[in-house]
């Protein structure tokens, strides 16, 4: 079993920013991602009570290290100021690096 090192980018943000995130991914030619709704607490207060639009979503993207800086830069530039958002990067190993 040979594992190849790639990056896992995880973005936790308010649900109404999901579209923006996916738009940015698409712009950088990344079409693979996984999303799911979550609740949370942070600088912008408790999220997940009340209207569905006030929930959070997690977007997880496995990608090659090369693409990471640009994607991260664009997300932070366009979204950090106005949206509840947290982002982190971790190292993972995959079997088929050509998929990403």
């Amino acid at each position: 079993m040979k594992l190849f090192n790639v990056k896992l980018l995880t973005i936790t943000c308010e649900i109404l920013a999901q579209e923006n995130i996916i738009g940015i991914l698409k712009k950088h030619e990344i079409t693979g991602y996984t999303t799911y709704e979550v609740d949370g607490n942070g600088a912008r207060g408790l999220r997940g009570q009340g209207f569905k639009n006030e929930k959070n979503v997690k977007v997880e993207v496995i990608m090659r290290e090369e693409k990471l800086p640009d994607v991260v830069e664009e997300i932070s530039r366009t979204l950090f100021a106005n949206f509840a958002i947290v982002l982190y990067v971790s190292d993972v190993g995959v079997l088929r690096p050509e998929k990403f």
Binding site: L16, A17, N20, G50, F51, N53, E54, N82, F83
Partner: protein, 360 residues
């Protein structure tokens, strides 16, 4: 005094009581909650029921005479939105983004308001023109489109101003302008294909096609169960409003006053104008309520993309936490009383004077 009695009678209906109950449940920090799937489904159901009802009525009464009221509603809505903006920006000293967001929240219309209004009229045994559901559908995206357009104009102007001072990085600014335009067209598409409008328009058309006979087989679900369904929805609305009560402090006194007086003013204008246009007692109430209503479900979805710089805690909290309760408890009976007065002819002019005195 009649108004007070009507307000009291209205206060003691299941819809209002369960809304207040929801607020209390939230305040005592109960874990009561309507599951998300149910509270997401209920507005769809309510809009389908409203639409079917409106469509069936329109088939009975025709929709030729709907055009003038609709254009008047559009005109009023736009005027109100601009008016809100001036008040918020000049008197309220809100920044440009919050001002536009709030202006359009209050220029827009609320489907929950509309449901409660229909139920209120049903309770009073008064009917209303079916085509008002169509006006609801048309007004829904309108105030947003206006606000988005104005905000974008304003932002473009700012960018252009910058452009003139730093004439070296032209291209980047052009890109920025282009992005703004793309965003505008995207937001337009989103607000027109938003689920509320789509289900509402669709149901109006279907109601019109099937008529009373075709409705028979689904009447129990889409008519008889209507008020019960609103009651369940109002529990959740109460809970959410209750959770936001703490935020009201942040809203400030100016906006609190705005959130109470402006809808009342808009609503009364709506009743008087629509009465002048020949709408029935109930029709004028619904027309006025549309003008008085503020949007707290559709608004965030559209405004968060259109004007991300605006604070949702402002516009959601004031619309749901202040305006909505005030409207369904106080404004609605007031509008009904006024509509009755001006329709039965007694004291029409007096009232007009009275109103204009009060709000001048």
């Amino acid at each position: 005094m009649e108004i007070l009695e009507l307000i009291q009678a209205n206060l003691l209906t299941p819809i209002i009581l369960f809304f207040l109950f929801g607020i209390i449940a939230a305040r005592i920090k109960s874990d009561l909650k309507i599951p998300e799937a149910i509270s997401e489904f209920l507005p769809i159901y309510l809009l389908a029921a409203i639409g079917l009802h409106g469509g069936i009525e329109m088939r009975n009464t025709g929709f030729e005479n709907m055009l003038i009221p609709m254009f008047v509603a559009i005109g009023l809505s736009l005027l109100f939105t601009l008016n809100h903006y001036q008040i918020l920006r000049r008197l309220g000293k809100f920044n440009i983004f919050d001002s536009y967001a709030l202006a359009s929240t209050y220029g827009a219309v609320g489907a929950v308001h509309f449901s409660v209004g229909l139920s209120f009229l049903k309770n009073q045994g008064v009917s209303s023109e079916g085509y008002i559901a169509a006006i609801l559908a048309v007004l829904e995206p309108l105030a947003f489109i206006l606000a988005i357009f104005m905000t974008n104009m304003a932002v473009s102007k700012q960018i252009k101003a910058k452009k003139q001072s730093f004439s070296d990085d032209d291209t980047e600014i052009d890109v920025g302008l282009n992005q703004t335009k793309t965003k505008l067209s995207k937001v337009l598409h989103e607000s027109i294909t938003g689920k509320a409008i789509v289900i509402l328009l669709g149901s109006i058309v279907i109601g019109y096609i099937i008529g009373k006979d075709g409705f028979e087989s689904i009447k129990i679900v889409f008519d008889d169960m209507f008020t019960g369904a609103i009651v369940i929805f109002m529990i959740e609305m109460g809970i959410i409003a209750g959770q936001r009560l703490d935020d009201i402090k942040k809203v400030g006194i100016f906006l609190t006053g705005f959130a109470i007086l402006i809808p009342l003013f808009n609503g009364i204008i709506g009743v008087l104008v629509s009465t002048a246009l020949g709408l029935s007692i109930g029709g004028a109430v619904m027309f006025g309520l549309l003008m008085a209503s503020a949007s707290f479900i559709a608004a965030p979805a559209v405004l968060r993309h259109a004007i991300p710089q605006a604070k949702p805690s402002l516009y959601i909290t004031s619309a749901l936490g202040i305006t909505f309760p005030f409207n369904i408890i106080v404004t609605l009976p007031i509008l009904f009383t006024i509509s009755t007065l001006v329709h039965t002819g007694e004291g029409t002019i007096d009232l007009f004077n009275y109103i204009t005195e009060v709000f001048s």
